[in-house]
Symmetry: C2
Subunit: 367 residues, 2 copies
């Protein structure tokens, strides 16, 4: 087990990464100081629960904790106000008090939803992330929690740092391949954003990473978490630099919203979004190699880089206008300056974005 | 206009109190630095809107602000997840961005609900309180925002400090008398909690306060706000001393939940709750004068001190178990030590609470 420390003053917390950690959750919760008198709520989903819930629940029971469980259907559609209310009901009837904690056992959907419950129940109780996917290495770090509004993704939420992240790499073994690739898209994003050497390393080891070779995937995820920790500790509430984490996300979120949550997985959507950001960068005069290099890396991981024809420009633009990065009538993009370096570009004209969307459907750059 | 400063580091804010302030809201929002490009959302209710919305909206328009309005039905039942979602929809379709603000024009219900919207929209945007009731002098200070779960009041919420409170005392003139009395219950509570001289002053001037004599009501509300500010700045997130603000609220919230939100107004419920706390204090061996003095002050304001027979002990106890002050199987009460002084008493046995509920229906203390 390796431990990264997220240093945020009185909201600091550890990220434990390694194999075989879910059976240690009870011990780690004891050591973190959670009182045995206050019940713990485990939130999980219909795919992860059958695989790993017993492991976590019995580990907690062995230490003397009482637990309450709430299982949601797997998938992005579960990040709804309906499920939020249902989990609140479970928390209340289960007797959770201010010293209780919510444990999110699953991927990003479970983490985001359970995290917003933890942020809001009795105005905020403790929260523990138990990510079980590659993608969730990203969402479980940094304290952003949210649910979706029918009109826009992650529109209702909070900043609520976990007390602890326990990332059992064994849980990744049962992931469908498409989920693994989607998760690796966020790993690639961390590299494209800030770390050119990491991008080179990732491209070289793409095959082994997709196959979840233990040495490689552990190193990639730890490094990816560390990159995110570095950004988040500089700017916890996204007043500035933290926005670079949204590379590929402005368009990616719009693709998810327009396609219907779940049509493209999150990582697939941001992969196309990163291709779009590279196109936009080139259109605005940056080096064409930015686009070709970005595409090459994404394709090494079997990730999509072309936008299907059926996505309407109007609908994508409309969805972007509802995005949190849309402000005072213009849209902000995170654009690559080179591989492993980005800048925040505000006030991009709608016409440029429309042109890039058109080009993204052809899968090539004329610029 | 007088201005109290709430000193909470980078979350500090002013409370402006005085007559004629609603037409100044536009100017005050400009001076507070809100950008004209970002629309403002005014949340109000069906009783307050027709009286004061024009005043606020035109004052904002005069300064060049764009506004979006959402009106909810008046009453505690509006603090629901349904209204929360509906306001979110208005905010999204109205184009609110991260630099926008939510203005709560109304009483505590509007403030709590709009405040939780502000706390959660895009993970938190600016919030301005425009209280129009006596009661809201209390809820508009301190940053506690929340909505109700069908099983328990204020169960879903956040700590989200406003950027500014603008308290126009002219708005009180249209309040029904029962609302005035309910609001004065929180003023009396601040005194009973921490300030014996203030209690004496309040009792002496009860008649003039109920009649809203401008000099008296202004002084009372400013002093009551100042007491609350003093407590909140010591303990923003209620890890300790802030809990004393809950004098009368453990039982009061249960009375509201069991009776159905709106049967008793909040101030009426906590008036009975304060009578109950005094009874419990006497039962636990404190001076009997605590009870008789408390009752005398509450009655001077025409506030209820007897619990109607129809309230079942079982239901009240059940509701208290869902209260945030119920922790690890026992209940915490704020109990008077004397008039103007309280202590936090944890671990009170259910049997003692049951006995007090029975006695509270008789309206007397045998102890």
């Amino acid at each position: 087990m390796r431990t990264l420390k997220v240093d945020l003053g009185d909201r600091s917390y550890p990220i434990h990464i390694g194999p075989g950690l879910l059976p240690e959750v009870g011990r780690l919760c004891r050591e973190a100081g959670f009182p045995l008198q206050s019940p713990l709520l485990i939130v999980t989903d219909s795919e992860v629960g059958p695989l790993y819930l017993d492991r976590v629940a019995s580990s907690l029971a062995d230490e003397g904790f009482r637990t309450v469980v709430h299982t949601i259907p797997s998938g992005e559609a579960s990040k709804s106000l309906e499920n939020f209310e249902a989990i609140m009901t479970t928390a209340i009837t289960g007797g959770l008090d201010r010293s209780s904690a919510v444990l999110a056992l699953g991927g990003g959907v479970v983490g985001d939803l359970a995290g917003f419950v933890a942020a809001s129940y009795m105005r905020g109780i403790a929260f523990v992330q138990l990510p079980t996917t590659v993608l969730a290495h990203d969402s479980s770090v940094g304290g952003k929690v949210a649910i979706n509004h029918p009109l826009a993704k992650n529109m209702i939420g909070a900043f609520h740092q976990p007390k602890m992240v326990v990332y059992d790499l064994d849980a990744l073994k049962t992931l469908p391949k498409r989920q693994i690739l989607s998760g690796l898209a966020e790993v690639v994003k961390q590299g494209l954003m800030i770390d050119p050497e990491f991008v080179t390393w990732l491209e070289e080891h793409a095959e082994g990473l997709v196959a979840l070779r233990p040495d490689l995937i552990g190193e990639a995820l730890e490094h990816s978490c560390a990159i995110k920790v570095g950004v988040v500790t500089q700017d916890e509430r996204e007043f500035g630099i933290r926005a670079i984490l949204n590379l590929g996300h402005t368009l990616g979120h719009a693709i998810e919203a327009v396609g219907g949550y779940g049509t493209f997985l999150h990582g697939e959507a941001i992969s196309i979004g990163m291709a779009g950001s590279a196109l936009l960068a080139v259109k605005l005069g940056r080096d064409r190699a930015i686009y070709t290099d970005t595409i090459r890396v994404l394709k090494a991981f079997g990730l999509p880089t072309v936008l299907p024809d059926r996505y309407s420009e109007d609908e994508l633009i409309e969805a972007m206008m509802h995005d949190k990065k849309f402000k005072q009538g213009k849209v902000t993009f995170i654009l690559p300056e080179s591989i492993g370096s980005v800048s925040i570009v505000e006030g991009i004209e709608e016409s440029a974005v429309r042109e890039v969307i058109g080009q993204l459907k052809k899968g090539d750059s004329p610029w």
